[in-house]
Every structure is written in C-alpha cells, then in structure tokens.
C-alpha cells in the first residue's frame, strides 16, 4: 500500500492490475491529487480506514470481494464516498447505486478520467 501525498483531494485506486494502478497513480498525482492504491478488496477497505479518501476508483473484478460487497462495506463506513467504477464491461453493473457514482469503460482516456474525478469531487465539495 502506498503512502499518500498532500494535494487537491484524496483518491483511492483499487485495482488488481499493477499497470492500471501505476498509470492511474502517475496521472492523478501529476494532476495534483493525493493517491493511495490497493490491489484487492481487503486492501481497499484497510486503506479507507487509514486514509478516508474522498473518492475511490474501483475495479469491478477484484480478488477479495464482489463489487456489491466491497462497495457496500465502503459506503457503510463512508456514506458520502464518491465512486468511479472502471471495468472492461461495456455496461455499468446493475448494483451501482448511491450518490455520485460514475462508470467508465477500460481503456479510458486519462483526460476523460481526470475530468470525471474532478466532477465527482466537486460534487463532494458542494454537498459538504
């Protein structure tokens, strides 16, 4: 698990693919966000407790739990958590519910990703 840096907002990247984690981390860090990464559902829950991120970028198919369970646990602790689900599927999962959720298909253009993150976090700010 990586240590976050102080920045615009805090983002948890939960993906079992090291390359995806690496790329997203580099892109978000360069854009000014604090980034913490996790490679499975268990790590994601631990990171949430440790860093209370404002937004989580969540892969659908990760070891350690289904999207439904992982998202449920994350939201149970942090109901206002913003969620961006990334997946290779073309359609968003049916159980992707709750406030300020977004879905994007991999491979996502990184400018598009940064735009979505910004939008979700501005949503967070306006709801505070």
């Amino acid at each position: 698990m990586a240590t976050p840096e102080v920045s615009l907002g805090s983002v948890l990247i939960a993906d079992d693919d090291s390359l995806v984690r690496g790329v997203l981390r580099m892109a978000l860090t360069r854009a000014g966000y604090t980034v913490v990464v996790a490679c499975d559902a268990t790590e994601a829950l631990v990171a949430q407790v440790a860093y209370s991120p404002e937004l989580v970028i969540l892969d659908i198919n990760m070891p350690g739990g289904t999207l439904h369970d992982t998202l449920g646990s994350l939201r149970e602790r942090q109901p206002e958590l913003r969620v961006l689900v990334l997946s290779g599927e073309s359609e968003p999962p049916v159980d992707l519910t709750g406030p300020a959720c977004d879905f994007a298909r991999k491979p996502i253009d990184l400018d598009d990703l940064l735009g979505r993150v910004e939008l979700l976090l501005s949503h967070t700010t306006s709801h505070r």
Partner: protein
C-alpha cells in the same frame, strides 16, 4: 398479390410492356388497313407507329401522373387511361386514313374495336406479367430463406464444445499475430521510444482490444440483406397447366375479339364466321388435350407440363389454320391466308397470357404461404442459434476478461499516458517494462485458452 395490385402496379404503364405490344398491334393495323387505298405501301406502317407512339405517351404519362398520388393506381384510373389510349388510337388511325387516303375515317368503328381489344387484352396481359414478375421475386426469396434456414439449422445442430473451439481459434487468430508484432516492435525500440511511436503502438493495441471485444460481444441480429436475386425466367414458368377448359374459353374469347371484327369489316361476314368457328374448334382441341392428359396421366402433366402445354397450343394453331384454309365457310381462300398470321399470333399470345394468369396466381399464393412458413421457422431457429452463440461467447468472454482484455486495456492506458506526458526515465522504463510484461502474459494466457483452459 391482389387483382388491384397486379393491374395498378408498375406493369400497368411500363414502357417495356408497350414495346412488346408493338409487333402484334402493327400486324393488326396492317391487316386492318389492307382495304385503305394508301398512296404508298409504307403508310399503314407509319400509321401503326404513329398510333403506338400516341398510345405509349398516354399510358406512360398517365401512369406516371397517377402514380404520384397512388403507389398502386386504382382500377378505375387504370381502365380510364387504357380507354383514353384506345380512343386516341382510333382517332389517329382514322385521321391518317382520311388525310392520306381520302377515305371515310370511320372513327366510331375504329374507336369501338380498339376499346374492345384493349378491355379484353390489356387486363389479362398486365395481370399475367405482374404475376410472373411476382413469381420470380417470390421464388428468389424462397430460395434465400431455404438456404438461410439450412445454414442456421447447421449452426443449431453444432455442439457447444465445437462452437467454443471455433470461437477460441477465431480469437487466437485475430489477436496472436498483432500481439507478437507489437511485442517485437516494443522490444526492438524499448530504449529509444519517441512519443509518435508510442502513440502508434497505443492505437494498434486499442484497435486490437476493440476487435476482440467485437468478437466476444453478443451476436448481431439478422443482417440487413440485399433483396434476393429473382428466379430465372425458365424456372418461373416451369409449372403444369391448370383449369384447361377455363383456359380454352378465355383464349378463344380473346382471339375472336381481336380478329373477327376486322375480318368482318374487311372480308365480310363469312370470313368472320370462319374465324369464330376455327378459333372455337382450335380452343376445344387445346382444352381437350390438356384435360385428357390431366385426367389420365396426371404425373406426366405435373412433370412435363410446359412441353404438354406447348404441344396443345401447337395443335390448336394447326387446327385453326387448317379450318381457316379448308373449312369452306368462306370460299375465298386468299382471305383466309391473310387472316391466318394474325389469328396464329393472337392464339399464341392469348394462350401464353391466359395460361400464365391462371397458373401463376395459384402458384404464387402457394409460394407466398410457403415463404411465410419458412420465414417463421427461420425466425425461431435464428433465435435459438443466437441464444446458443451468445452463451458460448459469454463463456469465452468471462475467461478472457481479466487475463486478455483487462491486460490489453491496461497497456492501452499506459501507452496513451506515455505518449502524452513528460515522463522521467524511471517512469518511462517502468511503463515500457510493464506493458511488455503484460503483453507476454496476454500471449501466454491466450495460448492456454486456445489449448482448452476452462473448457
């Protein structure tokens, strides 16, 4: 196809149809003008062409105007156009005869005869042609539907394992060459990658990802296909004759209406009676042959209907010619000789028209019913085939989701990032090495899947 659809369809005013009518109507005009004292031999021909051009203009223009308001022209409009054309034909014929030959134009007689001929002949000919064209389209569509049904049934009968194996090989054939090529390119230039090269690699990998996704996506619905080709002319008319006595009656009526009035006008009543008698006996002979074969050798009629029909028509013509020349009703044989060509042509055209109209209408109704049944079965089989295909694609998609598609997507994202960002050497090396490692893993897992992993 209803009567209105046939008579009000494109053949009601088709130029090709009018061209086909030029020879028989010219022959009719030549016979009719035998008694007109034209100064030159070619005036009857010129009159025939002038009449036909006027008729063609009226029918084609009238049809075009009517078709602006109606896709299928109403029957009353069609008959009005044909009647107007017949009236104008009589007027043109009379006017030319009066102006050039200085004779009584006989407008009423000419118009009356042409109206009778038009009303008797045009509906039957247009109806038969429309049914014939409809049959060619129906047979073409039926062939297409039958072939599709056979193909889909073969797919349905294929086992799941076979289909899965085919899909895996298709995926491997699609991905492996490009994957190998990309790996080689990346390996070769890993220490000197510029942004343009990375962007190009990213684009190729992105296309590969999309192609694989398309291959694993739910199968598309039935493709929009071009209209199937029409059946051949020979096949469209390859049918046994039906209702021989009705056919004989209509052929006799059409032939007599075309020839007898002019025979009367030109050669007198005896010639007209001879035409009526000859035609009647000829049609009876033709009907008797067809009815007898149908009653005693129905198999022969079904198998060799065309040949038997041609033989019956030939017999009818021979009988008509013999009677016209030897009956003695009209003692002047030379008059019979002049009428015989028109009588023979009228008999043949009437026979073909009536046979076609009667046989094709029934055959088309049967073909349309069969096409409906085959199409319904095809829909059911396609649905079943689509469900099975989707199931197998879904199975493979699940297997490939992370190991292949997920890794390729990650590589695309990494190369995109690499091509648009200023990276330090460590970051660039990390991304390049990671992408290479991912591509090797994809190749390895793809091989395993093709070899049967998860089957």
């Amino acid at each position: 196809m209803t009567v209105r659809e046939a008579l009000g369809g494109p053949w009601a005013s088709h130029w090709l149809f009018l061209v086909a009518l030029l020879p028989p109507t010219t022959l009719l005009v030549l016979l009719r003008e035998i008694v007109t004292p034209y100064p030159e031999w070619w005036w009857p021909l010129a009159s025939a062409f002038a009449q036909h051009i006027v008729v063609g203009a009226v029918i084609v223009l009238g049809g075009a105007i009517a078709r602006r308001r109606h896709a299928v022209i109403p029957l009353a409009t069609v008959f009005a156009i044909w009647t107007l054309a017949a009236v104008l034909r009589g007027v043109v014929a009379g006017a030319i005869a009066e102006i050039v030959a200085g004779v009584d134009p006989e407008y009423a007689t000419r118009i009356g005869v042409w109206m009778l001929v038009s009303i008797v002949w045009l509906p039957a000919m247009v109806y038969a042609t429309a049914q014939f064209e409809h049959r060619r389209q129906l047979l073409g569509a039926l062939d297409f539907a039958d072939n599709e049904l056979t193909r889909e049934q073969q797919l349905v009968n294929q086992s799941s394992a076979d289909r899965q194996r085919q899909l895996r090989h298709a995926v491997a054939e699609l991905l492996t060459p490009t994957l190998n090529d990309l790996q080689n390119s990346l390996e070769a230039s890993r220490d000197g990658l510029d942004r343009a090269t990375v962007a190009e690699l990213s684009l190729r990998l992105s296309q590969l990802h999309d192609n694989a996704a398309d291959l694993l996506a739910p199968p598309p619905g039935p493709m929009e296909v071009l209209p199937p080709p029409r059946a051949s002319l020979r096949r469209a008319i390859d049918m046994p004759p039906r209702r021989p006595w009705l056919t004989a009656l209509l052929v006799g009526w059409a032939t007599i209406s075309l020839v007898s009035l002019d025979a009367w006008r030109i050669f007198g009543s005896l010639a007209a009676i001879e035409v009526v008698v000859s035609t009647t006996v000829a049609t009876v002979a033709m009907g008797a042959v067809l009815a007898s074969v149908g009653a005693f050798w129905p198999t022969a009629l079904a198998r060799r209907g065309q040949r038997i029909t041609v033989a019956a028509i030939t017999l009818g013509i021979v009988v008509a010619i013999i009677l016209m020349l030897n009956s003695g009703i009209d003692p002047i044989t030379s008059q019979g000789l002049l009428i015989v060509p028109l009588l023979a042509i009228a008999f043949v055209v009437a026979s073909v028209t009536v046979f076609s109209a009667i046989v094709l209408a029934d055959a088309n109704a049967e073909a349309a019913a069969r096409l409906g049944a085959v199409s319904a079965e095809l829909t059911v089989v396609r649905e079943l085939s689509g469900q099975r295909e989707q199931r197998e694609r879904h199975r493979l998609s699940d297997l490939m989701h992370g190991p292949v598609q997920g890794r390729i997507a990650a590589c695309v994202m990494a190369l995109n990032f690499s091509s648009t960002s200023d990276l330090d050497d460590d970051q660039a090396r990390f991304l390049t090495d990671s992408v290479l490692g991912h591509l090797r893993d994809v190749s390895r897992d793809l091989r395993r899947i093709t070899e049967g992993l998860g089957r």
